[in-house]
């Protein structure tokens, strides 16, 4: 990527994140945007974002790839791998060559190499000394992450983290826990909705997510609200075909 196109991409990403924050937004949409932008700007092949849940475990809230095995792979990293190290230390973890990581995280190493990933950057989502989660970007190329790239990832992540708090009632303590809880619950709704769409439209789970996301974008709705309507059967995305569904603004 040339310097100018890169600069403009970074600026565009900040603008996009800021835009997400101004409108009535959902945390899952915000994190989804953050992840997709960072993956593209940093020329990575895949990425996943994990948030800590009520019992202190990391949960995948957004991923570039919805395939079950990729999500499972992210969870492996959340058990023992750069993701959890980044989360516990609150510092970015970069692994230039996963193959050379030895016995540090054997299970993660095997799983990553199997998927063709050779390097990873884990960026913490920090807030006043607390770590809320991590964003993990995977590349199929060996090599250390350029420090400037790492700084961009951190800056974008910080904007999104602040964004988590921007919703109403910012004064109230416990709002962070509340927001994380909501984000994780949104994710559960999305999974239930994926199941509904997969069954009604006879498509795979991955494709169900694509249908869900495109419906949300097309109708300018949050993923959560669409997922909720799908899960309680008040809308049926399986029947509304993408090409013919421009029914509402």
């Amino acid at each position: 990527m040339s310097e100018t196109s890169r600069e403009s991409r970074v600026s565009a990403a900040f603008v996009k994140l800021a835009d997400t924050l101004i409108a009535d937004y959902d945390v899952v949409d915000l994190l989804d945007t953050l992840l997709l932008e960072c993956t593209q700007i940093l020329d990575c092949e895949a990425g996943g974002l994990l948030l800590v849940d009520a019992v202190g475990q990391l949960q995948v809230v957004a991923s570039t790839n919805e395939e079950a095995d990729f999500v499972e792979f992210m969870q492996v990293g959340a058990g023992s791998g750069p993701c959890i190290d980044c989360f516990t230390t609150g510092k970015a973890v970069t692994v230039a060559d996963i193959d050379e990581s030895g016995n540090q995280w054997p299970e993660f190493r095997t799983a990553a190499l199997q998927k063709g990933f050779r390097s990873v950057l884990a960026t913490p989502m920090r807030l006043r000394g607390e770590v809320l989660g991590t964003m993990n970007l995977f590349s199929t190329f060996i090599g250390p992450m350029n420090p400037r790239d790492a700084a961009i990832a951190q800056a974008l992540t910080d904007v999104a983290t602040i964004g988590i708090l921007q919703e109403r009632n910012i004064r109230e303590t416990g709002i962070v826990a509340e927001q994380l809880q909501r984000a994780l619950d949104s994710r559960i709704l999305i999974e239930q909705a994926k199941g509904v769409i997969s069954q009604t439209a006879s498509v795979g789970i991955d494709e169900a997510f694509v249908l869900l996301r495109s419906y949300a974008r097309r109708h300018n709705l949050s993923l959560r609200s669409v997922a909720e309507s799908v899960a309680n059967r008040s809308i049926d995305i399986g029947i509304v075909q993408p090409a013919t569904s421009e029914r509402q603004a």
Partner: protein
């Protein structure tokens, strides 16, 4: 009627891992004007089991509602929304005549029931009571909602493991019984059987229980389309 004050309510902490079950109830007790709390979940047979009660009255309140089959607890469960009854002793309680009659024999002034929602699935209810009547303030209500959210996941884990020897996950990462595939299977089953999400989740767990398998295993079969509840008489 007591006028509720806008007191500083206790913030929901991010609870530590492996907090014991009693702790799930106690975190509601710092919330003014709540006197007691009980939490119950629905097991795979559709039965309600109490996972904690902060005192005898809280336990009795829940038992009473189970016995008579009506009350705010049931309303929260069926609607997936909070059922707030600020004045039980003299307010309009025509919606629950038997429950109201029973509750008048107690010291309970107000009951606030909150569903524990895991996405579209209601896995249980937390019943809060106050010894005097009165509304919850807006901030107390929002704190109660957020506390209810914070106990949902731990309660869901207990619900799934309550009767079945679902292997307790000690590893970090998501507990197997609550991985994505379980929620996806719930969505598929609700279409297959044309039921709501809560019922679909119950069917999934009941099937796992009766076949001696884990919820996670059965969910994988559903998502892989090896098992279709619509195709078989369940």
């Amino acid at each position: 009627m007591d006028k509720p004050q806008d007191s500083h309510s206790v913030a929901p902490p991010i609870p530590s891992a492996n907090g014991d079950d009693a702790d799930l109830c106690s975190r509601f007790l710092g919330l003014y004007p709540i006197t007691g709390a009980s939490i119950s979940v629905i097991d795979e047979a559709g039965n309600h089991s109490t996972i904690c009660a902060s005192d005898d009255t809280a336990a009795k309140l829940e038992e009473m509602q189970f016995d008579v089959g009506e009350g705010p607890h049931w309303e929260a469960l069926h609607t997936g929304r909070p059922a707030l009854v600020p004045n039980l002793q003299s307010g309009d309680t025509s919606a629950w005549p038997i429950f109201s009659e029973a509750v008048r024999q107690t010291e309970i002034g107000a009951v606030f029931a909150f569903p524990l929602n895991m996405g579209a699935v209601t896995i249980g209810v937390v019943d809060l009571y106050c010894s005097s009547s009165g509304n919850l303030s807006t901030s107390a209500l929002s704190t109660a909602l957020s506390l209810a959210r914070s106990v949902t996941l731990p309660a869901a884990r207990l619900a799934i493991r309550s009767a079945h020897a679902e292997a307790a996950s000690t590893t970090t990462g998501t507990a197997p019984e609550l991985r994505r595939v379980v929620h996806q299977a719930t969505g598929m089953i609700l279409v297959q059987l044309n039921v709501n999400a809560t019922e679909a989740f119950l069917v999934l767990r009941a099937h796992a229980f009766s076949s001696g398998r884990t919820v996670h295993d059965v969910a994988q079969d559903v998502v892989a389309r090896r098992l279709d509840f619509g195709a078989t008489a369940v």
